[in-house]
Amino acid sequence: MRAGLLTREVSSGLRRNVTMTVAMVLTTAVTLMSVGAGLLVLRTIDDISALYADRLEIQVALDAETSGADPDCSGLVCAPLRSSLEAAPGVGAVAFESQEQAYDRFRELFAGQSVADVARPQSLPATLRVTLTDQDGGAEAVRAVVEGQPGVRGVIDQRDVVGTLFDFLNGVRNVAFALAVVQALAAVLLISNTVQVSAFTRRTEVGVMRLVGATRWTTQLPFLVEAAIAGMVGGALAGAGLVAAKYAVVDDLIAAIGQAGVIPPVRLSDVLLVSVLLVPVGGLVAGITGYATLRAYVKV
């Protein structure tokens, strides 16, 4: 099929159906924006996991008596505890932080704040800081080892703190994808309907094409290109929407939730990558839907 004819057919088709086409573009755009947002949340979750994965520890806090008496974990309570922790499955390294070291770190952490002056070394526990090689099994093993052991005051799993954040982000992601699924259904139905209407308004042309023996491909291509263009425009709008949302809403929101570094910012490069990806996705989905519609409903 010659390019000139295709261009003419497609542009007249899009103009003739302008309201349907706009509705289809907008629905596709909102759908793809949800998909894009979901992908970006996934990306952020990955970023956060990477940010914290090697930093997250399980802290086994020792009780006050052991903490005060044993500055280097050589005592009868701490040493066996440490070696059994090191032997536990899924455990990477075990480091000992004495009361003094904890106190120094505490002062460093809260430097300039009044709490730093009030604290005494005696009020801070010595800890065995356990890093894990197996994030899930390791934590279980640590708990099993220290359960009921003398000298242990408690276990602090830092991942519990970050877990709340993950739960929130997973929720956002699930909502985004769920919305995307519902909207995708609406978009696909609308695309299908637009193609049917488009085929109906051009039934005379299609009839002539069939009669003179134009190939199926020639007959169908204008409809598919029409749908694909509308889908790609929808994808481009969705991408623009994501970039706008980053600057208008998300950046401020992340800054407000925590100080810099708690949640890594959504990178512009990621947003652009997702946006660029949405264009062919929009085109492809619309094209495939159009093709399926022509096969199922329209004799072309």
Partner: protein, 229 residues
């Protein structure tokens, strides 16, 4: 050119078949009228020839192609060998006379240079030279049918199928269209024309295949419309 052997077409909704073991052969270069009352199976037969539909049983050959068993991707090949003209012309209202003919060539993927040569030739063949830039609504019915015939000839098809081509025309204009079809037939094109127009059939004295209730009632050379009744 056309070979029908025991062609039966049954539509699911009706008990009596639309065509019942119809057999006929049309040689290359013949001019054949297909007559019969509404519901006799004329339209069904034309649809089967064009592979708009497939017969329930029997074989159809058109210009060497086994129509009923033709794979779908080869259907365009079949239709390129059959020119088609209808009672309602089926022109594109927003394209000029030349534009309508050119459109058919365009969708077949012909080059612009080829189209520029072919369109005036086709319009001259049907006697519409000088009206290339007119719009269909500015033309008389007879002229519109000539455009349709020019369009049906873009592939230089060996077979022209006409379904009531004079049905919307007054008698004099109808006779003009018949003269055009005759001329195309003299050029070697086989013409199969379905019609109700007894005066035309009687005047032409060509072969007549009459269908009734889906069967061939008669098949006579140089016949008239009302013979046998």
């Amino acid at each position: 050119m056309i070979e029908l052997r025991d062609v039966t077409k049954r539509y699911p909704a009706s008990g009596r078949p639309a065509l019942d073991r119809v057999s006929a052969t049309v040689d290359s270069g013949e001019f054949v009228f297909l007559i019969g009352p509404s519901g006799s199976g004329k339209s069904t037969l034309l649809r089967l020839l064009l592979r708009e539909d497939v017969p329930t049983s029997g074989t159809i050959r058109v210009d060497g192609l086994d129509v009923a068993r033709l794979p779908r991707r080869k259907v365009p090949k079949l239709r390129q060998r059959i020119g088609c003209v209808f009672q309602d012309f089926r022109l594109l209202p927003k394209r000029s006379v030349a534009g309508n003919v050119a459109f058919a060539l365009e969708v077949l993927g012909r080059k612009q240079s080829e189209i520029r040569v072919a369109v005036p030739e086709l319009l001259e063949m049907v006697g519409l030279q000088g009206k290339a830039e007119r719009m269909p609504h500015e033309l008389s019915g007879g002229e519109q049918q000539r455009v349709a015939i020019a369009r049906a000839s873009v592939n230089r098809p060996p077979l022209l199928v006409a379904d009531e081509p004079t049905g919307n025309l007054d008698p004099e204009t109808g006779r003009e269209i018949m003269r055009l079809l005759e001329r195309i037939n003299r050029g070697g094109t086989t013409v199969l024309m379905a019609t109700h127009d007894d005066s035309i059939v009687d005047a032409m004295r060509r072969r007549v295949i009459e269908l009734a209730d889906g069967t061939v009632l008669r098949d006579e050379a140089r016949a008239v419309y009302g013979a046998g009744r």
